[in-house]
C-alpha cells in the first residue's frame, strides 16, 4: 500500500482534480493513503448525494404524522396506539449485477440494519426487482441468484418478505435493479438516533469482525460498469443472516435499557461513514484506535479497516456507566463487543493504528465542503402522440397473451421462495391484495405496504412517470382500505454527468413532489442510485416508491378476490389510454406514445371514495387498474377468488381494446353487493363509476366472446416463470 498520494491516485479513487484540490486545502497538506480513502468514500456519489441533493430538496417531507424525515437512518411516522413505523428502501444494484446472490442478500441485510438501528423490530421486507431480457441466459442467472439471496437472508433473519415487484426490460440487461425495503415498528417515544453526544463517552463496535470484503464498495457503486465489471467481485460484501439475527436481538435487548446514547449501522463506507456521521451530526470529535477493532484477517491496514464494508456491524456511543451491562448482552449472543474509541472535543476524526496516526481530519469541512453539483440537465422531449392503433389479435387472445407475459405473469415462483408468514402477523400475503397487510402485535392496527414504479412511463415522460409512481403506491394502499401515510423513494438512474439523465432525474422529482403534495404522502427516507449504465447504455429510469399506510382495524383489510354474487364496478374515468401500455408493447409490438396522464385531484377524489366504500363495508373486494388495464385487473380478481366473472359490453365510445387494456390512472375495480347504492354515492361526490359485470359461473365471459375458463386463464398466468427457471 506504499503508494504515493497524488491527483492521479485520487482519480483512481473516484475524486476529480477539483475535489482533490479541496482535500488539499482542507488538510493544508497531502493526505495520507487512509485519509484519501476516507475523503473518496465520503464524497462518493453514493454517500454524498452530490449530484442529487439540490433536487431532493424539492420533495415534500413533512406532515403532522411524520416524526423523522430524511436525514436519519430511516423515516419514522406515527401510526397510532403510541407506535411508530420506521422504514426505508435502498438499492443494491451494482453488487447484484457483479454477484447476484450476495449482492441481493447484503442489500436486504443493509436495509434491515438501517431500520433496527433506530430501535424498531423489523416486521416486513419488500423488494423491487428489474431484470433484463428473460431470453438471455445471464438474466436467468441473475434472477436465480437475486431471488435466492433475498430469500435466504430474509427467511433466516425471520422477517417476512411480504411484497414487491418484478419487471423485465432489455434496458436492464447489463444493470439489474435490486431495491430492498424494510419496515419496522417501535414505540414512538423510543426512537434511536445517530448524533453522538457526551465528550469522553465510549465508542463501541458490535457485531461481526472486520474483514477485507467490500472495500471501496461505495465508490464502485458510484461509477458505470465497463466490460471489466467481473473483476470487481472482491468489492461485493458477503452476508451472514445468522449474525444479523443475533445482532437484531442483542440491539433490541440493549435498546430496552438506557445504555445507548446514539447508534448507527456500518453500511456503505463502513467504519468511516458511521464514525464520521455520528460525530459530525453530534458536533463532536472522535478518536478511534484500530488495534481494538475485531478483525477477521491478519495484517489489515488502516485503509482496509476504515473502508471495509464487512456486514452485520454497528457502532454505538454508550453511557460510560452502562458499558458492562451492554457487554453482557452482546456476550449472551456471542457477538463481538469492543470499545474502539471515545468522543472528543477536537471536532476531528483521529484514527490511530499500531501507534501511528493514520488519519486526522476536521469533521466540519469534510461534511460542509463536500462537493455539491448543479449538474447541467436537458429536459426529456415530449413523446409524440400515439395515433390510432388497430387491434391485431382481438380482446380474448390479447388478454391471454398479456396475463402470461413476463411483466404480468404470476410471481408465484418468486414469492414461494420468500417466507411471508414468519412472525404470525401477515394479514394479506403476496397476490391476495394490492398491498401487503401486516398486523401490529398487541394492537388492532395493521400496516399496508407496497412498492411501485413503472419505468417505461418514466422513460417516455419522467415527470408524469414520477407522479404516476407515487400515485400508484397511494392507490395500492388505498385499495386495501388503509390510509396512505408516507413514502420512501429509491431513485435508480443512469450517469448524472449526462444532461439527459439529469433531466430525467429532475423531472421525476418534479412529478413526485406534485403527487406527494396533492396526496398528503410525504417522502420520509430514500436513496439515490446513479451510474446505472453499462458500456454507456442507461437503464429505464426507475424512481421506485415504497409506500406505507395504516388500517385502524386490521380486520377491515380488503382483498382482491371478489365475494360470490357480487357486482363489479369500475371507479374512475376511462379514456382508453394506450400509449406506453403493456398491450401496446406485447400485442402491437410498440413502445411508443406518452404515458397515461395522472390527474392528481381525481386520483385523490376517487381513492378517498374507494377507501370509504371499503371501510363502510360496501365494497367486498377491490383491485386497482394498473399494468394491462381493466381486463387484466378483472382477470386477476377472478384468479385470486377462483370465481367466474361475467362482463357487460362497455357502453362507451371507444375501441374495445382501448377500453379493456388502456392504462388510465386513478381507476379501481370494486366488488359490491349493492351496485345501485354505491353508484349513487359515487355520483354524489362526482366520482365517475360504471357497472362492469358480476361474479357468476366458472369462466371469464366477455359479452359476445368465447368464454375463457379459469383453467385456461390460470395456465396462461402461471406458466412463464416456472418454465423460464426450470420449475
Amino acid at each position: 500500500m506504499a503508494r504515493d498520494v497524488n491527483a492521479s491516485l485520487a482519480r483512481e479513487f473516484g475524486l476529480s482534480a477539483e475535489e482533490y484540490g479541496r482535500v488539499l486545502s482542507i488538510l493544508g497538506r497531502t493526505p495520507s493513503f487512509t485519509e484519501l480513502g476516507i475523503f473518496s468514500v465520503m464524497w462518493s456519489e453514493h454517500c454524498s448525494y452530490k449530484s442529487s441533493r439540490v433536487w431532493l430538496k424539492e420533495l415534500p417531507t413533512k406532515a403532522p404524522w411524520v416524526i423523522h424525515g430524511p436525514g436519519e437512518n430511516a423515516g419514522v411516522v406515527a401510526v397510532g396506539d403510541g407506535l411508530a413505523a420506521i422504514f426505508k428502501m435502498e438499492s443494491h444494484n451494482h453488487p447484484s449485477y457483479i454477484e447476484p446472490y450476495q449482492g441481493a442478500a447484503t442489500g436486504v441485510g443493509g436495509i434491515l440494519r438501517d431500520v433496527f438501528t433506530m430501535g424498531a423490530r423489523p416486521i416486513a421486507n419488500l423488494n423491487a426487482l428489474r431484470f433484463g431480457d428473460p431470453a438471455l441466459p445471464r438474466t436467468r442467472n441473475t434472477i436465480d441468484g437475486v431471488v435466492r439471496g433475498i430469500g435466504d437472508y430474509g427467511n433466516c433473519v425471520g422477517v417476512p418478505t411480504v411484497g414487491g415487484e418484478v419487471n423485465f426490460h432489455p434496458a436492464y440487461n447489463g444493470n439489474p435493479l435490486v431495491n430492498a425495503m424494510t419496515v419496522g415498528v417501535a414505540p414512538a417515544n423510543r426512537i434511536f438516533l445517530s448524533a453522538a453526544a457526551g465528550i469522553g463517552n465510549p465508542v463501541v463496535y458490535v457485531g461481526s469482525k472486520t474483514g477485507r470484503d467490500g472495500i471501496h464498495g461505495a465508490t464502485m457503486a458510484s461509477a458505470e460498469f465497463a466490460e471489466d465489471s467481473e473483476e470487481k467481485r472482491p468489492t461485493v460484501q458477503v452476508g451472514d443472516p445468522f449474525e444479523e439475527k443475533l445482532l437484531i436481538e442483542a440491539c433490541l435487548e440493549l435498546m430496552a435499557t438506557d445504555a445507548i446514547v446514539s447508534i448507527q449501522d456500518m453500511g456503505a463506507a463502513g467504519l468511516t461513514s458511521s464514525s464520521v456521521e455520528m460525530a459530525g451530526k453530534g458536533g463532536v470529535g472522535i478518536a478511534i484506535d484500530l488495534d481494538r477493532v475485531p478483525q477477521r484477517e491478519a495484517d489489515m491496514t488502516a485503509y482496509e479497516m476504515m473502508l471495509s464494508e464487512s456486514q452485520e456491524r454497528m457502532l454505538m456511543v454508550l453511557r460510560p456507566d452502562r458499558e458492562a451491562l451492554a457487554r453482557s448482552i452482546f456476550e449472551k449472543y456471542e457477538l463481538d463487543f469492543a470499545v474502539i474509541g471515545t468522543l472528543t472535543a477536537t471536532g476531528r476524526i483521529v484514527v490511530r493504528h499500531r501507534g501511528r496516526v493514520e488519519a486526522d481530519i476536521p469533521l466540519e469541512p469534510l461534511a460542509d465542503q463536500a462537493p455539491l453539483y448543479h449538474r447541467p440537465y436537458s429536459e426529456t422531449p415530449a413523446p409524440a402522440p400515439l395515433g390510432a392503433v388497430t387491434d391485431p389479435l382481438g380482446v380474448r387472445a390479447s388478454l391471454l397473451r398479456l396475463i402470461g407475459c413476463p411483466d404480468l405473469c404470476s410471481r408465484r415462483w418468486v414469492w414461494d421462495q420468500y417466507d411471508a408468514t414468519v412472525g404470525g402477523q401477515t394479514v394479506r400475503r403476496p397476490g391476495s391484495a394490492d398491498a401487503a397487510v401486516v398486523k401490529l402485535e398487541d394492537s388492532r392496527r395493521a400496516l399496508a405496504l407496497t412498492v411501485d414504479c413503472t419505468p417505461r412511463y418514466c422513460k417516455a415522460d419522467p415527470e408524469a412517470g414520477g407522479a404516476q409512481a407515487v400515485a400508484e403506491a397511494w392507490r395500492n394502499i388505498t385499495a386495501t382500505g388503509a390510509t396512505p401515510l408516507a413514502i420512501t423513494d429509491c431513485m435508480n438512474f443512469g450517469n448524472p454527468e449526462k444532461p439527459e439523465i439529469m433531466g430525467q432525474f429532475a423531472a421525476a422529482i418534479r412529478g413526485m413532489a406534485a403527487a406527494c403534495t396533492a396526496l398528503d404522502f410525504p417522502v420520509v427516507s430514500g436513496n439515490v442510485s446513479f451510474y446505472n449504465e453499462t458500456e454507456g447504455r442507461p437503464i429505464l429510469p426507475a424512481p421506485c416508491i415504497g409506500g406505507l399506510g395504516v388500517l385502524e382495524e386490521a380486520t377491515q383489510a380488503a382483498r382482491i378476490a371478489p365475494p360470490a354474487g357480487s357486482e363489479l364496478l369500475l371507479v374512475g374515468a376511462v379514456a382508453g389510454h394506450l400509449g406506453q401500455s403493456l398491450w401496446l408493447r406485447e400485442v402491437a409490438g410498440s413502445e411508443d406514445g406518452p404515458p397515461p396522464p395522472v390527474n392528481l385531484a381525481a386520483e385523490r377524489r376517487n381513492g378517498d371514495f374507494v377507501r370509504r366504500m371499503i371501510l363502510t363495508g360496501k365494497a367486498g373486494a377491490c383491485h386497482d387498474v394498473a399494468d394491462g388495464g381493466v381486463l387484466v385487473a378483472v382477470a386477476e380478481m377472478a384468479l385470486a377468488g377462483s370465481v367466474g366473472i361475467e362482463l357487460d359490453a362497455p357502453e362507451i365510445a371507444m375501441p374495445a381494446h382501448a377500453f379493456w387494456f388502456g392504462e388510465d390512472q386513478g381507476c379501481y375495480v370494486l366488488a359490491v353487493e349493492n351496485a345501485a347504492a354505491v353508484l349513487a354515492e359515487a355520483a354524489a361526490v362526482s366520482v365517475p363509476a360504471r357497472r362492469l359485470g358480476r361474479v357468476r359461473g366458472e369462466d371469464l365471459k366477455l359479452a359476445g366472446g368465447v368464454p375463457i375458463s379459469l383453467g385456461e386463464l390460470r395456465a396462461a398466468h402461471e406458466a412463464f416463470l416456472p418454465s423460464l427457471m426450470g420449475g
Partner: protein, 230 residues
C-alpha cells in the same frame, strides 16, 4: 398446561409459537434461552422454527449438541411432551429423538406456501382434536423439509402408526404433486414410539387466527392444552 419454548440462537418462529400456545392455554409460555437446562415443571417443551446456528454445518446439527438437549431428552424419557416444528423437527432428528433425516427440498429451493395435511391418527395428545383422516391447511416455509428414512425404518413407522401427518391434496389424496418438498411417502410429521414427541415441518402455529387467513392449526394447540391441563 405449562409450556416452554426453547430458543437457540437463530430461532425465529418463537413469537408465532408463543401466540398460538397462549391462545390455547390462556397463559404465556415460558421462553427458555438455550443455555438454561432446567425444564422442571414443564408439561410441554417446544422447539420452534428458524435457523438455529444459521443452519450452518447441517440444519439442526449444532443445536442438537447443545446442553439443553440433554434436559429435553430427560424430559422426553420421563414421558414429557415435546413438539418440534420445522427447524425444531430437524433438531429432534439430529438429536436422535426421532428417526430419519430431512434433506434439501426436491426442487433445491426454499418453499414457502400453504400445504394440506391429513391427520393419520387421532389418539395422541397432539391430534385428538381432529377427526381421523381430517384434512387441514397449514403454511410451510423451509429449504430442508424433504423427509427421508430407509425402508425398514419407514415400514416400522407405518407399522407402529407413528406417522402423524401426510402431505395431501385438498381432497385428502397423498399424491406426488401434493408433496412439494419431495418427502418420502408424503410424510410431514412423525411421532416417537410413546407418541409424546412430535416433529413436523409445516407451521400450524401460523394459522390460528381468522385474520391471518384461518384457524386450521388451532386443533393442535387446543388438543395439547386439553390433554396437558393440570
Amino acid at each position: 398446561m405449562k409450556a416452554g419454548i426453547v430458543v437457540f440462537p437463530g430461532i425465529n418462529r418463537e413469537r408465532d409459537m408463543a401466540i398460538a400456545l397462549a391462545q390455547a392455554a390462556g397463559s404465556a409460555p415460558r421462553m427458555i434461552w438455550h443455555r438454561e437446562t432446567d425444564l422442571e415443571g414443564l408439561d410441554l417443551v417446544v422447539i420452534p422454527g428458524g435457523f438455529s446456528y444459521g443452519d450452518y454445518l447441517r440444519c439442526g446439527a449444532m443445536a442438537a449438541r447443545s446442553p439443553v438437549m440433554d434436559a429435553i431428552r430427560a424430559h422426553a424419557a420421563r414421558g414429557g411432551a415435546v413438539l418440534g416444528v420445522c427447524n425444531g423437527f430437524q433438531i429432534l432428528i439430529e438429536a436422535g429423538l426421532l428417526p430419519g433425516a430431512l434433506l434439501r427440498n426436491a426442487s433445491l429451493r426454499f418453499l414457502s406456501c400453504d400445504c394440506w395435511l391429513r391427520v393419520e391418527r387421532t389418539d395422541t395428545i397432539f391430534t385428538d382434536h381432529w377427526q381421523r383422516g381430517a384434512v387441514f391447511r397449514s403454511p410451510m416455509a423451509h429449504g430442508d423439509g424433504n423427509y427421508f428414512a430407509d425402508d425398514p425404518t419407514l415400514d416400522r413407522l407405518e407399522g407402529e402408526g407413528l406417522v402423524a401427518f401426510r402431505y395431501v391434496t385438498e381432497q385428502g389424496e397423498a399424491t406426488t404433486t401434493a408433496c412439494r418438498n419431495g418427502s418420502v411417502r408424503n410424510i410431514a410429521g412423525i411421532l416417537s414410539p410413546n407418541r409424546r414427541v412430535l416433529g413436523l415441518m409445516p407451521h400450524p402455529e401460523d394459522l390460528v387466527d381468522p385474520l391471518m387467513g384461518g384457524t386450521d392449526g388451532q386443533p393442535l394447540f387446543h388438543g395439547l392444552a386439553a390433554a396437558l391441563a393440570a
